[in-house]
Amino acid sequence: MLRDAGRIAAKDLRIERRSRVLTTQVLPFALIVIVLFAFALDASTDALRRFTPGLFWVTVLFAAVLSVQRIFAVEVEDGALDALRLSGVDPASIFLGKAAAIATQLVVVEVLLGLSVVVFYDAEPDDVVLAAVAGVVAAGGVAAAGSLYGALVVNLRVRDTLLPVLLLPVLAPVLIAATRAYGDAFGTSAVDGWAWLGVLGLFGVIYLLLGILTYGVLLEES
Amino acid sequence: MGYVVAGWIIGIGGFALYAGYLLRRGRRLASHVPADRRRWMTADE
């Protein structure tokens, strides 16, 4: 099961390396959002620094929607999803492979965003380890939920508009927990960021289980 | 007190609107379905 998941993730990441949608579209989009926030908050570096954790994670979630859309778009372009269903691969492998590919992309997005908030918002993390760990764990949770909902809408004509409506409310706990954790890491709020990692981890585990259990049902018909 | 009255009006009004919407939808659909297929809906005794 894990080997097939690895094959699927590697395939998606290879497509990504060739097509460069992440580097030429998703990353610039994330940067644009960061710039837009600066305009919206009246170019006040103080405010930007204070709200860095929240702005950072809102941007990551927006980028995640794009990443999920892209990861599933390659499957419907020329009937590859049917081929995937015909390959007899365990649906759980497809779920895990897709989730791993999305998570990898999100980590790349997070690194770039981390650098840009340091530069543009004058926000420097006090606790780099916490920021890194929370970033990876949150990416995993977002990717698991994204992989689940991406497959759910993949065969609908309205998939691009429906996906954010379904996915973003579900990610509310991730946004809250990751923002809290980064609040601690960037020293903007006095909370125990490591404790919030528990929420992120729990979310990730729950959605991984949900995906493994329900993917068969989702791919069977869709 | 104005807020309280407004709350009640919206609350009861919301019930009434939704009830009306359900009834209208039901009437329209029911006329397309023969009586023997309308289970439980014994409106015509």
Binding site: E221 | Y3, L23, G26, V33
Partner: protein
């Protein structure tokens, strides 16, 4: 008695009339028979409507969850239709909860909305989750596929709710708002009879909504099935001509 086809029946008429009577009594109880609250003042009069609607909204969503499980587990068409009906009624109740809650909050807290209140925030996200559910439901396509997808969305939403609730509670602590406990304290004070009446009236309204919405969904299925039969015979005729 009307002979026009509708989703009504004797049972729903009895529930409907009982609901109207109970609502009328509740109105009297809220505005004339009960006293203003010591702390909330007259705002408590909205509570007799708000609290039952809020609690029953969760009942509706739990019914939607049960229906979804019935569909996923046993392929129960009844469960599927019930889940759809309960989700829509739940969204109506949820929206009314938020509106009445905001209008109660304005005189009591001095603000329509308070991000520090766990229930408020959780309820809003619950509303958004089920709005997404209804959006998915109305996308045309294969019936079984859509039902399965919807059932998964409903279950995921319900599983998400406790996580959201816990994280909002934890998150909101920083603001030192203790609204939740404040509300719990209040429940004890408000007029027990009016509260009971509120639950009765709103419970009857909920059941009336559920039954009618269920029948609407059932009729939709019948219409679709009928359309399918016609499409099938047309298709076969097309084949015979050649």
């Amino acid at each position: 008695m009307s002979t026009r086809p509708s989703t009504g029946s004797t049972v729903t008429r009895v529930i409907g009339i009982a609901a109207l009577i109970a609502l009328a009594l509740l109105l009297c109880a809220a505005f004339w028979w009960s006293e203003p609250d010591a702390q909330q003042g007259d705002a408590v009069r909205l509570f007799y409507l708000h609290v039952p609607v809020a609690i029953l909204e969760y009942v509706a969503f739990i019914i939607a969850g049960v229906g979804s499980v019935m569909y996923l587990w046993k392929r129960s068409v009844f469960g599927d239709v019930m889940a759809h009906a309960a989700a829509e009624v739940g969204v109506v109740f949820c929206a009314l909860t938020l509106i009445t809650g905001s209008l109660w909050g304005r005189p009591t807290w001095g603000t329509y909305w308070d991000w520090g209140d766990v229930r408020l925030v959780t309820t809003l996200i619950l509303l958004l989750l089920f709005v997404g559910y209804l959006a998915l439901r109305q996308v045309p396509g294969d019936r079984h596929t859509r039902s399965k997808q919807a059932a998964i969305v409903a279950l995921v939403a319900l599983i998400d709710i406790p996580i959201i609730n816990r994280s909002v509670e934890w998150w909101a602590n920083r603001t030192l708002h203790q609204r939740s406990t404040l509300i719990e304290g209040k429940i004890e004070d408000i007029n027990a009879f009016a509260t009971f009446l509120g639950f009765l009236a709103c419970g009857l309204v909920l059941s009336w909504f559920l039954v009618h919405r269920f029948r609407v969904a059932w009729l939709e299925r019948e219409v679709a099935t009928h359309g399918l039969e016609r499409a099938l015979s047309e298709r076969r005729a097309e084949g015979a001509e050649v």
